[in-house]
């Protein structure tokens, strides 16, 4: 009798755990699909082959749209693989655009000029999980004259 009760209890636990997993998985799948409905694009890059110098600035305009509609007040984060950003995060305006400035590193014998990947992500599009719509661009840094 007692064994049957405890088996039933374990069974209930498994069912609850399974429901939780299913619900969270559904949320996750929803966010993955939802993220794909956003379009994050670098619509303007002032120089795709900038000089590898800390005094250079590369202007990058990012646009976020959802079913073709510009999305305002979305927080965009840009992470360069090398060098830095004047600001790593910015909000989109009413046209769905945010402006960033990439600051290259100064090329030297220690760090020659090379390709830098800028990963761009929309930090405001997900509903349940942090599944961000994203894109990336590559800048080809060149050695100073």
């Amino acid at each position: 009798m007692g064994t049957q009760k405890s088996k039933r209890k374990i069974g209930v636990k498994y069912i609850i755990a399974a429901i939780i997993i299913v619900v969270f998985s559904a949320f996750y799948i929803f966010d993955v699909v939802w993220a794909k409905t956003y379009d994050v694009q670098a619509v303007y890059v002032s120089d795709k082959t900038p000089v590898a110098s800390n005094s250079e600035r590369v202007e990058i305009v990012v646009r976020v749209t959802h079913f073709g509609k510009p999305m305002a007040k979305h927080e965009i984060f840009v992470l360069p693989s090398a060098g830095s950003m004047l600001a790593y995060t910015a909000l989109t305006d009413e046209t769905g655009q945010a402006v960033f400035y990439y600051i290259p590193y100064t090329a030297s014998a220690f760090t020659p000029a090379s390709d830098v990947t800028l990963r761009i992500r929309d930090q405001s599009n997900s509903v349940f999980w942090e599944i961000n719509a994203n894109t990336e661009i590559v800048l080809r840094l060149r050695q100073q004259g």
């Binding site: 800390n54 005094s55 927080e75 984060f77 992470l79 360069p80 693989s81 090398a82 830095s84 950003m85 004047l86 600001a87 790593y88 995060t89 910015a90 909000l91 600051i103 590193y105 100064t106 030297s108 014998a109 220690f110 760090t111």
Partner: protein, 500 residues
Amino acid sequence: MKRIAAVLISVFFIITAFLTVSCGGGDSVGEGQLFVDLHTLMPTPSETATPDQPNPVNASRNIAKKYKETTGTEIVWASDYAKPIDNINNMRAWYNTQVNVKNCPAIGFSFGTKMQEDGLYVSLDEYLERPNPYVNGNTRWKDIFEDWVWKDQAVLDANGRIVSIPIVLNPGSATAIYYNKDMFEENGLTVPTTWKELTAAIDSAKGISGVQYPYVPYTGDVGISLSSWVFEFNLAPGFAAHMADRTDYDNDGIVTTKELIRAVLENKFNPVLCQEAKELYGLAYNYYKTVLPTGWESVTSATYLNMWNSHKVAMKNQGLWYYNIERGNTLRDFAFDLFVPPVAQSDSSAKASDLPSKTLKDGYQSEVLMAFNVMKPAVENNEKLLDRAIDFLMYLTSPEAVTAMVQENGEGLPAVKGAGYPSVYDDAGWLEKSFTVTNVSKWPLGFIVANTANINAAFAGWVRGELNQSEFFTKLNSEQKEGARTMVRNMNIDTTGWEI
């Protein structure tokens, strides 16, 4: 039986512990390697940029890689040995342990000369006369640095010997004050240029609706202390300069550590007799007692940031390295700008001098922020290791290497001529700002880490009402003199002609 087992297990653990302490550290940095502490210039564990760490430190990693290719010497970083970077007390404890286990870095960082009384530093004067083979055409290593750094007390010990090699200078002032520009404009507040104007602006901001913390101190100034940056860089310089007619014994325009030790022992900094000291400590007391709001010490950085974003903070003191973080602060819905933290001058006290100001473009001579020592316990009786340490410092101070480190680090300016600075300072309009010339004289505290700690404890006690002014002055004077006497003894300072 159990007892025997317990004894055997205990013996095993004791032997293991002994081997860990005596061999684990000592043998880990060996032949062909150089153990180096470059403070915040040391590489971060990961070289990949991540959202949590968008600026990994890679410059020194790449420099070390190239150095190994060139010379065969491998650099081992002190950060792998949990070297603390927060304050001198923790650093000193770490260095003591490393010396005891015979695993002291050959190149060390201790805020310039802050551990000079321990006799840990190698005098570098003779090496600076040699050519630096890593700089084209250089015949004298010393010449590649900005000239004024050799008078900085973070480079010279009390006997006037050069004991550290500077790499990073303050970006003009040590920090900047970030302010809510919209709030200033809406309420008719003007950017302060003197300490008195700053405290008046803080008072005015207190009256603005919604403002809870008009002014947030620098995040590094964590408690009531005279070792704070606000005391060193903003309150004390005008008072120290006012005393220069009595403390600059050789009249060369710079008051050295040795001259400060002499002045302390000649009773010139005793606040019972010295009006400058009395007024300066009074100003510091008022800063903690009335300028900063009650409970400021327990407010976390995250809470201050929330308050700043919700217009409850008017001004906050922070490093220049913070500029692009503030630019990327998407929760802020107001314009911000920066001003130079002002210095207390004659409008704060008749005992403080008015000091000249200059922009960086006009040749302002920034103080040394990061300088590196060659550590005697690591290199004594090991000529080869000493040569290797000097050689790596020469390699590190080539303009190309300094540019890479300084631009990536963002905390300050290069100490080497011709090296590049972090261009974000241009975006902040920082090179056009005027900075007060504060390098005439430092204000002395305890000279020795322990004495300074005791002075700070007494000062905090005074502010909290546990001591009265007279008790604080007595304690300060006795600790200061004890520290000065220890310096004379430990540094073998010649006191001929001193009236002590």
